[in-house]
């Protein structure tokens, strides 16, 4: 293996074009604030030419950077009447990005050290992760889970709704009170079942919005016992007092 070959590093080891640029800058011992663009562009393109296999997905990012370098060089070649202020330097934005990226890389090192330390110490929270099948595994659900359940329901009710001629008027406030009183009585309600029980589509919609409002106000919480299971809505403990007073 000759020197030329041994120097070659695979492009895959670089996270992206900024990573490669930083590597070249370090290798040439260049000041980031004063990058000789022509030199670094040549190095950069050399680098791209030297690698054997082409991965188109990643290639685009690297080519975009090459284009940017050439653009910066062209900006610098333009004849100007006045000497440029430092903040007008066409290289400035790239230099800022490189500096930012460099800080992130330093942070990566710090975090990696901390990770190594932490991997060797054990806390009880590390032990509770996998629960055996069948056990209650409460997952507080996100908005997306709720919306997904809601759409399943809507699909189920699509046809039947045609039969309804005139729905009764329901206000958000009424519905919210109704939900809270049901919750106080039964402690929890099944999200899908409850919406399914609503007489009309409109009422179901209102009930859904009410639930979202209540969750947002942190008066109730939505919990899924297991992935893909039904979502249950509980009154929050700390909310009990508040609701009774309202």
């Amino acid at each position: 293996m000759d020197a030329e070959e041994s120097y070659q590093v695979r492009l895959e080891v670089f996270e992206g074009p900024l990573d490669l640029l930083l590597f070249l800058i370090k290798k040439k011992k260049i000041d980031i604030r004063d990058i000789p663009i022509a030199l670094i562009t040549r190095e950069y393109l050399d680098y791209l030419n030297h690698k054997d296999r082409i991965n188109l997905d990643r290639e685009a990012e690297f080519l975009l950077m090459a284009a940017l370098l050439i653009y910066i060089k062209s900006q610098m070649l333009l004849p100007r009447e006045q000497v440029l202020e430092p903040e007008e330097d066409p290289r400035r934005e790239l230099a800022d990005r490189l500096m930012d990226y460099q800080t992130i890389k330093a942070a990566v090192q710090v975090l990696r050290e901390k990770e190594d330390e932490q991997l060797q110490v054990w806390k009880r929270s590390a032990l509770t992760a996998p629960l055996p099948d069948g056990d209650l595994d409460l997952i507080e659900v996100s908005l997306y889970d709720l919306a997904e359940s809601f759409f399943t329901l809507m699909k189920r009710r699509q046809e039947e709704n045609l039969k309804v001629i005139k729905g009764k008027e329901v206000s958000m406030a009424e519905k919210m009170n109704e939900i809270v009183s049901v919750l106080k009585e039964r402690h929890y309600l099944d999200f899908l079942e409850y919406l399914d029980d609503q007489e009309t589509l409109e009422e179901a919609l209102i009930a859904f919005f009410c639930l979202l409002e209540l969750i947002k106000a942190r008066l109730v919480t939505a919990i899924q016992e297991q992935l893909f299971h039904t979502i249950k809505v509980w009154l929050r403990k700390e909310a009990h007092v508040k609701v009774t007073h309202d």
Partner: protein
């Protein structure tokens, strides 16, 4: 009195799976003044640190937990039948750093900082619950905003985000390395 308080707190920490916060302790001990509780926890932690035992109390994500010392890692792993805890990939860690230092931040912003597409890494971090969605940015396309979680703090043994080295400290670190 303080001895008793220390022992109460010790048992609370012992039984807690998540880091036990001062707020939780205050809930359990409504009659004890906050500074007494704080002093008791600190005494307790110092006692463990000085005692030379296998366990100590660490402060992480704003709360207190018991933790084993690194020396016993091989034995604990043998007990739990865990070969090795997996580390984050370089890509994931870099994405996580970008989020930690720029949060709240959107995916396009992260990709710009790293100079490459970060979609995959972002999703794996979300799955690991090291980051979370905190809303949308009022910008074209209303992209989602991301933040690090408490689990992130626990994972790296940090008490709060303040524990991360400041940006100028990082710059100094780099200069030392470049020199």
């Amino acid at each position: 009195m303080t001895e008793k308080l220390k022992e109460i707190i010790e048992s609370l920490i012992f039984i807690s799976v998540e880091p036990l916060t001062l707020e939780k302790m205050k809930e359990v001990l409504p009659d004890d003044p906050e500074q007494d509780i704080v002093r008791a926890v600190q005494d307790l932690a110092a006692g463990y640190a000085a005692g030379g035992g296998a366990i100590h109390i660490v402060q992480t994500a704003g709360g207190y937990v018991f933790s084993t010392k690194p020396d016993f890692d091989p034995y604990v792993r043998r007990l739990l039948q865990i070969e090795r805890k997996s580390k984050l990939s370089h890509q994931a860690l870099e994405t996580l750093s970008a989020i930690a230092y720029h949060q709240p931040v959107t995916l396009p912003e992260i990709s710009t900082i790293r100079g490459c597409d970060s979609t995959y890494a972002l999703h794996s971090l979300l799955e690991k619950k090291l980051i979370k969605i905190v809303g949308r940015k009022e910008a074209p396309g209303r992209p989602l905003l991301y933040r690090t979680t408490d689990k992130f703090l626990v994972y790296f043994g940090l008490n709060s985000l303040e524990d991360l080295p400041k940006e100028d400290e990082l710059k100094k670190l780099m200069e030392e390395e470049n020199a």
